[in-house]
Amino acid sequence: MRVKVLSRNPDDYIRETKQDLQRVPRNYDPALHPFEVPREYMRALNATKLERVFAKPFLASLDGHRDGVNCMAKHPQSLSTVLSGACDGEVKIWNLTKRECIRTLQAHEGFVRGICTRFCGTSFFTVGDDKTVKHWKMDGPGYGGEEEPLHTILGKTVYTGIDHHWKEAVFATCGHQVDIWDEQRTSPICSLTWGVDSISSVKFNPIETYLLGSCASDRNIVLYDMRQSTPLKKVILDMRTNTLCWNPMEAFIFTSANEDHNLYTFDMRFLESPVMIHIDHVSAVLDVDYSPTGKEFVSASFDKSIRIFPVDKGRSREVYHTKRMQHVITVKWTSDNKYILCGSDEMNIRLWKANASEKLGVLVPRERAAMNYNQKLKEKFQHHPQIKRIARHRHLPKAIYSQAKELRIMREARRRKELNRRKHSKPGSSPFVSEKKKHIVAVVK
């Protein structure tokens, strides 16, 4: 009897040199690879599970401030540098790679209300409760030298915020009015007012750089044009807007963080109703910052959490919180789209990954291919109940969880009441108002 033995030609599988890639013979005949959908489904399921397993977004905590962190600024040229101002008037410059403070300066008496860097990255500006605007050099003084600002401008009223122009030597402050300053002068080029109220923040548009947006304490958002030195339009919302942020990729889109737990994304040209309302926070939203890709933004809230929202989605895709993180006052998305920084009441700045389960460091091409594939699978099967369930699962602290539940119940009750009212009133007497329009009180020309 003959014995049949499996034998292969070594030429088919032996490499010529060690550097050669291993040959992997493939046959793409679909008959040989059946059950493609179930197999990919299982892969997607595993990928989703792994994503949740590896979701460890917290990277580092930068401690050193002696009071709550009130404002932060990114360095325009260096990814590893971040500036922060605290409630005791101290400004610290941090090195993120070393996770340490590289410079500390007592900038103001009282709060540092606002901080911004010059577009070239050589200097920065701070405003504080002591009614001053100070211009500082980015590099510290030499040995034995004193920490002194380049310029100090003493104003008549308290400045509550500052932002620098993206291309020119011009900056804007806000307080009782929006002032636009030339760096070389001690008096503003122009002051923009529209009614008397205190303005909490002002932001330059990064694309059409002559545009400004500000939010005031009388619940409105005002847009300005720097060239024509005139306000453009005002939209009044239900509640006060704390701050706003322009989309860095879409010139006419901005998002505002509101006291009513929501964020509103507006199209500058159509202020009558917001493009999108982002709901998920359970307390006032204090700060918002766009990712440099303009596809997502991060928001900091009084409810001790930060959330990441896709621009075109009404709900958040991610929530970050830790036990020790208190009210988050300021948040920034780093310029390489990888990390998020948040400064909170309890004196710490925290560094998070923007993508919770992302692997940091260099990826081997095969690794990257596998990650891309997993991502694609997750996307493809995202509607399947098991995968959706796993992907959506997040842990929330009890306070937020119960508050969210309560809010949900309230919202439902309100909806039900409206429904009942409509049911029992004359048809047409209580018109339907879309959710988007509900929060807009008026648009003032």
Binding site: E36, W166, I277, D336, N337, Q386
Partner: protein, 725 residues
């Protein structure tokens, strides 16, 4: 005129009204005075300057209605009759038609207007980004940072302009380049190169190059061969070689004698001289070691004696003074060569000549399998054959080379009288050299299979796997089909082998007389073909065996019947059951073992409604179960998810696999390309006008087209929102 009438009628009425008003006012003031006096406190009346009024009038001028406006119709009324005032009247009429100028706007109002204008202007300016934004939103992939520096090849002119020679080496190189007038700009050709380009057309150059290549290959082949042959230690081989040489020399001499007697004479002298030298030497004198041993052996051994005699004969022949006959020598040679039957080896090249593919494979196969070893050194076997054949056949290489030369000659004659390049001259030289090499070097023999050599050696590769051997078998099968011989079993094939031997033997006598018996007795080149049919039959037998074994092993199992039974069971289970509502009751006996009447049973047995036909009704080998699998349901999507409109759409999106198992590498990469690509450690700047892709919109250029906000925009935003609610 109508207007004037109106005025006329108006006037008296207004006058009477005025009068009435005046009276009332008077009364009113009196009343006020009376009231003030009532209070008792005398109010100090302020000195008031008033206009002259009716009360104090001295000139009978009525000042009533002093506070009233002058009404135009009153004026017009007075100038009714006089025609000279017609122009004035007309003018006044015109004034009446015009509206009065409004007050200047309040500050708030004017600011608002400015704001509105500014807003419109700004929103228009911003709207130029519309196209870019939409494009980016729809983009399959976005690569950040947007300002990607693209690698490009810098033209050499650019590089050269900025280049400066610094080191002495560089200067030297530059001076060299300048010496050859190396141009820096395109085309990068020196004058010499250009001239050579002009001298030769492309086709010609290609032809020449091919020829040169071939010649070079041949030369290297010859060199290798010469080297190999030089190493051969076999005395017999060298003897044969020498013999061949001498024969050739003789032949040449013959030719020479006819053509150039003088040269022939010198040649003859030379030959004579060599013969004399031979005679002087002690070769073939029965004095060598070998000859002495032969002499001892000669007493007992016939062969040794024979060899001795041979040598003696040779000696005699050599020492003869008369120039010898070549024929005689040849005859002697045949005897001297002795034991080696040439025919055995001769078969191979001759067959090679006919079909080089036929013989190589089996022989190599035989070698591989190790079943049979070639008894002789191939070199040994080749040499005598050549010695035998050399006289008749001109070697293939020679023919080739001569052919080349001929072709070249014809081409040169036919073609235009082009100047010969350096290459050509060189080539010619090479040819000449090669030819001379071939002619002068008699050590190099020209085997018939010279060119086919590498091909054959390729075939000799390892064949260790079953598949390869099978494949070989198939080739052999084809071969056999070509041949007219009958194919059969192993024994037959062996017979075949011997028959093949016979075949070779038949061919052999054409060239040489040979003893057939000797050939057959000697170890012939037996071609053992492990012919395909053998293994096939084997396989068949085996398969049959296997089948038998399996049959025995599963003798009791009737799978088909089992399946059918199962299917019937399933069918039964799936059928709707009849409902039996029969109960014993009135008019019937009670107790065990009693059944209700047939009438009652018939009445209360509710027959089921036959459901739809089973889907596997006409598929005998299939059971289709239509029951929902609850475990699987947990993993299934219940409703069509948002972006999809129909179920089919969604299913299609799921059905196409994206993995590398089902897609080629390229397709896989394309399918799994991430939406957003960022480079770690790179700062992503906000978009600017330069970043906006040029093919879609340079915002400044297509600004006007992009100004109008398209309805798509709002829809784009609203859709996801609806879902979120």
């Amino acid at each position: 005129m109508a207007e004037e009438d109106l005025f006329r009628s108006d006037h008296p009425v207004s006058a009477s009204e005025d009068e009435g008003d005046g009276n009332e006012e008077r009364r009113h003031s009196q009343l006020l005075e009376a009231i003030s006096s009532l209070t008792g406190r005398k109010r100090g009346k302020l000195a008031e300057r008033t206009e002259a009024s009716l009360q104090v009038s001295e000139f009978n001028l009525s000042c009533e209605g002093a506070g009233e406006k002058l009404v135009l119709p009153e004026l017009l009324g007075s100038i009714r009759a006089s025609s000279s005032l017609g122009i004035v009247k007309k003018q006044l009429n015109r004034v009446k038609q015009k509206k009065s100028v409004e007050l200047p706007l309040s500050k708030e109002e004017s600011e608002r207007v400015v704001r509105e204008a500014a807003y419109n202007k700004t929103s228009k300016a911003v709207a130029k980004w519309e196209q870019v934004v939409l494009q980016n939103r729809r983009a399959e992939q976005l690569v950040f940072p947007l300002k990607q520096e693209q690698m490009r090849v810098a033209p050499i002119e650019e590089v050269l302009t900025s280049w400066k020679t610094r080191t002495p080496l560089e200067q030297e190189i530059f001076s060299l380049l300048h010496k050859t007038q190396q141009p820096v700009t395109d085309p990068l050709l020196t004058p010499l190169e250009e001239a050579s380009l002009r001298a030769m057309s492309l086709e010609e150059a290609q032809l020449r190059r091919a020829e040169l290549q071939k010649a070079r290959a041949l030369q290297s082949y010859y060199e290798a061969k010469a080297r190999r042959e030089k190493k051969i230690k076999s005395k017999k081989y060298h003897r044969v070689l020498q013999k061949g040489m001498s024969r050739k020399a003789l032949k040449e001499f013959e030719v020479l004698r006819k053509l150039d007697p003088e040269a022939a004479l010198t040649k003859l002298e030379e030959m004579e001289r060599s013969r004399i030298e031979e005679r002087m030497s002690l070769k073939h004198q029965n004095k060598g070691k070998w000859a002495r041993s032969r002499a001892i052996m000669a007493k007992y051994n016939l062969e040794a004696r024979k060899a001795m005699q041979e040598q003696l004969a040779r000696n005699k022949e050599l020492t003869q003074k008369v120039p010898m006959e070549p024929e005689g020598e040849e005859e002697g040679d045949v005897a001297g060569e002795g034991l080696l039957p040439d025919s055995i080896n001769e078969v191979q090249p001759s067959m090679d000549g006919a079909n080089p593919w036929m013989l190589g494979k089996p022989s190599s196969e035989a070698k591989d399998s190790g079943m049979q070893e070639d008894p002789k050194d191939p070199r040994e076997s080749v040499a005598p054959e050549d010695a035998g054949n050399e006289g008749e056949e001109v070697s293939e290489e020679e023919i080739l080379l001569q052919d080349f030369e001929q072709r070249r000659c014809t081409r040169q004659q036919a073609g235009s009288p082009e100047p010969k390049g350096a290459g050509e001259a060189e080539e010619e030289h090479l040819f000449v050299e090669l030819l001379s090499n071939v002619q002068t070097d008699p050590g190099v023999e020209q085997p018939a299979q010279g060119l086919e050599g590498p091909l054959l050696s390729e075939q000799r590769g390892r064949r260790c796997t079953l598949e390869e051997i099978d494949a070989l078998g198939q080739e052999e099968g084809a071969e056999e089909q070509e041949q007219p011989w009958p194919t059969g079993t192993l024994e037959e094939s062996e017979e075949e082998g011997s028959a093949g031997g016979g075949h070779t033997a038949k061919k052999a006598p054409k060239q040489k007389m040979i003893n057939l018996q000797a050939v057959l007795a000697g170890e012939s080149h037996v071609i053992q073909c492990p012919a395909q049919p053998v293994s096939v039959q084997d396989e068949e037998e085996e398969a049959a065996d296997q089948r038998l074994v399996i049959k025995e092993a599963f003798a009791g199992d009737d799978v088909i019947a089992d399946f059918l039974q199962e299917k019937r069971k399933v069918e039964q289970a799936g059928k709707p059951q009849a409902m039996d509502l029969v109960l014993p009751g009135w008019g019937e006996w009670g107790g065990t073992g009693l059944r209700p009447s047939a009438r009652k049973r018939k009445r209360f047995l509710i027959k089921p409604v036959s459901g739809p036909p089973r889907r596997d009704q006409h598929l005998p080998h299939v059971i289709i179960s239509q029951q929902r699998n609850i475990l699987a349901a947990a993993h299934q999507v219940n409703e069509v998810p948002f972006p999809f409109d129909r179920r089919q759409q969604f299913e299609r999106s799921i059905r196409a696999p994206v993995g590398p198992t089902w897609n080629t590498q390229r397709a896989f990469q394309k399918l799994t390309a991430p939406r957003i690509l960022t480079q770690p450690g790179h700062i992503i700047q906000p978009i600017s006008a330069e970043d906006a892709s040029p093919q879609s919109t340079m915002p400044t250029r297509r600004g006007s087209a992009a100004l109008v906000p398209t309805p798509q925009h709002s829809r784009h935003h609203q859709r996801p929102h609806k879902k979120a609610r």
